[in-house]
């Protein structure tokens, strides 16, 4: 009898599972990267924004798959301005239940993470998912910072994620390989390639997304720890030297004597 009771309790837990998925925007990779104001600001002129691919393809889709098999609720959170609501609606169209926009400029990773942690703390979530990194700043910082702010275990760069009762079973990247790990909920996980497959939103999802709840909350007061002072572009490559495909000795000679890399 006892076992059944425990089982029921676990299923009930799963049904109530609340997942928070952190979504950020990033410029479409074909966007031209340029800076204005004396190279201190990213030039947004003509830039198309997309949902950061790791957040959308892996974190969000896996959260939805878990919800579809176990029940529960998937909430999206994004720290950004009103202009970012377009990408939040896109994430809603893929299938999340509701969204929260923390109305602030995500100045640095610390500022962003504290905002998300504060929201998570006051609303209670079992699982917080992020992408592996944003492709504009490639910092891989926000997830670990959320975890530390909430004093929760953090599994980084997870390539697989399963829920067994109140335990997560994961596969994650480690230096030169993979590791299978388990951790009790609540936890923070950053999601990498392998966790799920990209989903294309359908018409019904897009229609439904228009009326799904998107709550706007005010940020908490916190000082950023870092700031971007200026930007620069790499020096243009000098013209490519063409080598005769039948003369690989010449290429080896150039790599040794001119480029000095072998």
């Amino acid at each position: 009898m006892r076992i059944i009771v425990l089982n029921l309790r676990t299923i009930e837990n799963n049904e109530n599972m609340k997942i928070l998925v952190c979504i950020s925007k990033s410029p479409d990779t074909t966007s031209k990267i340029a800076f204005t104001d004396n190279n201190t600001k990213f030039d947004e002129n003509g830039v198309q924004y997309i949902v950061n691919p790791y957040d959308e393809w892996y974190a969000l889709v896996r959260a939805l798959e878990i919800k579809e098999t176990l029940g529960g609720n998937v909430t999206i959170v994004s720290v950004g301005s009103a202009a970012d609501e377009a990408i939040i609606r896109k994430a809603l169209a893929i299938g999340a239940d509701d969204a929260v926009r923390i109305d602030a400029d995500p100045t640095d990773a610390y500022y962003t993470a504290v905002q998300i942690a504060e929201y998570a703390k006051s609303n209670g979530f079992d699982l917080v998912l992020t992408g592996k990194e944003t492709i504009n700043y490639n910092g891989s910082q926000v997830a670990g910072m959320i975890a530390e702010s909430l004093d929760l275990p953090f599994v980084s760069l997870a390539t697989k994620l399963d829920v067994n009762g109140s335990t997560l079973s994961l596969e994650r990247e480690i230096v030169g390989g993979l590791e299978v790990v388990e951790v009790a909920l609540p936890a923070v996980v950053s999601c990498a390639k392998g966790m799920a497959e990209q989903r294309i939103p359908n018409m019904r999802g897009i229609m439904a997304a228009r009326t799904k709840p998107l709550q706007v909350v005010a940020p908490v007061a916190v000082e950023a720890l870092t700031s971007y002072v200026s930007y620069s572009m790499p020096n243009a490559k000098s013209a490519c030297k063409m080598i005769d495909p039948t003369n690989m000795d010449e290429l080896v000679e150039l790599l040794h004597n001119e480029a000095k890399v072998i």
Binding site: T29, I33, Y54, A109, Y110, A113, N136, N138, G139, S140, Q141, V142, A143, G144, M145, E148, S149, P153, F154, S156, L157, E173, I174, V175, G176, G177, L178, E179, V180, V181, E182, V183, K193, L225, T226, S227, Y228, V229, S230, Y231, S232, M233, P234, K237, S238, C240, K241, M242, I243, P245, T246, D249, L251, V252, L254, L255, H256, A259, V261, I262
Partner: protein, 314 residues
């Protein structure tokens, strides 16, 4: 200025550890290393050659749990009064450095590519390597996570002392069930030479040519995303915007068109060689040396040339 450098010393010392200690030495005279790995004291003492004054080691940790390592490094930072903490920007640093940043309220510069500029800002790659950003840290204590292959290790010191350190790291809440490690391969992010191939190779059965060249050079192998997606090559070889970002000294790309998402992961390479049948392939615009030709002929020819070069004592 007191600098604390965290290094991963499991399974020996990696080149990235020598880079991180060299970097620490360039920032300040007093460099302490903190580690929890299984390398023996004699091995750890060699970090003195790169500028460490002493190495602190806590052998009570078994894995690389971010919560435990954060506590360990935080207590070492307090004990030596560190004003800068340096990591090598690897998988462990990506999990630990952000936690430490919150724990110490210390600004984190993630993926530094150089020593600080004259104004104290530190350059990092932004927009997948298409530009650089100069980051200013506003807090008294700084954390810098150094991108591998950003500077050459400099060994001109002598062995240093190694002391046991009790970091009060606590328990890990993460249970490690098993690990899968490919044996004997060079981890891609650390490789100095990389041979990579794409869909132009036509099928997995043709990768022998790529591996032969890699072996002759002592290089790691990589691939474009479609090649990993269709299962011709393992996922951990996939480089680019959604795969691994690398910056080796030499990147040889055969049968890869050079799509912007691929370039995003490799454009930090010092020298790029492109082999492609199509003279109009976009990759040539990012290349230092180009070979317009059939990879099926050029790769074996290049392998022979490298073997000849290596056997002449290089």
């Amino acid at each position: 200025m007191s600098v604390l450098v965290y290094i991963n010393s499991n399974n020996g010392l990696h080149k990235s550890a020598f880079e991180a200690v060299t970097y620490g030495k360039k920032l300040g005279a007093d460099v302490t290393v903190i580690t929890s790995g299984n390398a023996d004291a004699a091995t750890l003492a060699t970090l003195g050659n790169y500028g460490a004054t002493k190495v602190l080691v806590d052998r009570s940790l078994s894995g690389d749990d971010a919560q435990q390592l954060t506590r360990l490094i935080a207590s070492a930072a307090t004990s030596v009064g560190a004003t800068t903490i340096v990591f090598s920007h690897d998988i462990i640093a990506k999990a630990v450095a952000p936690r430490l940043s919150v724990c110490l309220k210390a600004g984190l510069v993630s993926g530094a590519i150089d020593i600080p500029n004259a104004d104290g800002t530190i350059n990092v790659n932004v927009f997948s390597g298409k530009a650089f950003g100069a980051v200013k840290v506003n807090s008294a204590v700084k954390i810098i996570s150094l991108l591998p292959n950003s500077l050459q290790p400099e060994a001109n010191g002598s062995a240093c002392g190694v002391e046991d350190f009790a970091g009060n790291a606590g328990d890990s809440k993460i249970t490690i069930v098993s690990t899968k490690k490919p044996e004997g391969e060079i981890p891609l992010p650390e490789a100095e030479l990389v041979v990579s191939a794409g869909r132009g190779l036509k099928g997995p059965e043709n990768w022998g040519m790529v591996e032969d060249l890699a072996k002759a050079l002592g290089a790691a192998t990589a691939c474009s995303r479609p090649v990993a997606d269709i299962g011709w090559r393992p996922h951990h070889e996939h480089v680019g915007q959604t795969g691994v970002a690398i910056r080796p000294n030499l990147y040889i790309a055969a049968g890869i068109s050079g799509a912007i998402q691929h370039l995003a992961g490799v454009n930090g390479s010092k020298v790029i060689v492109v082999i492609n049948t199509d003279a109009e392939a976009p990759f040539f615009k990012a290349a230092d040396y180009g070979v317009v030709g059939d990879a099926f002929e050029v790769l074996p020819r290049l392998t022979e040339a490298v073997k000849k070069f290596r056997s002449s004592g290089h």
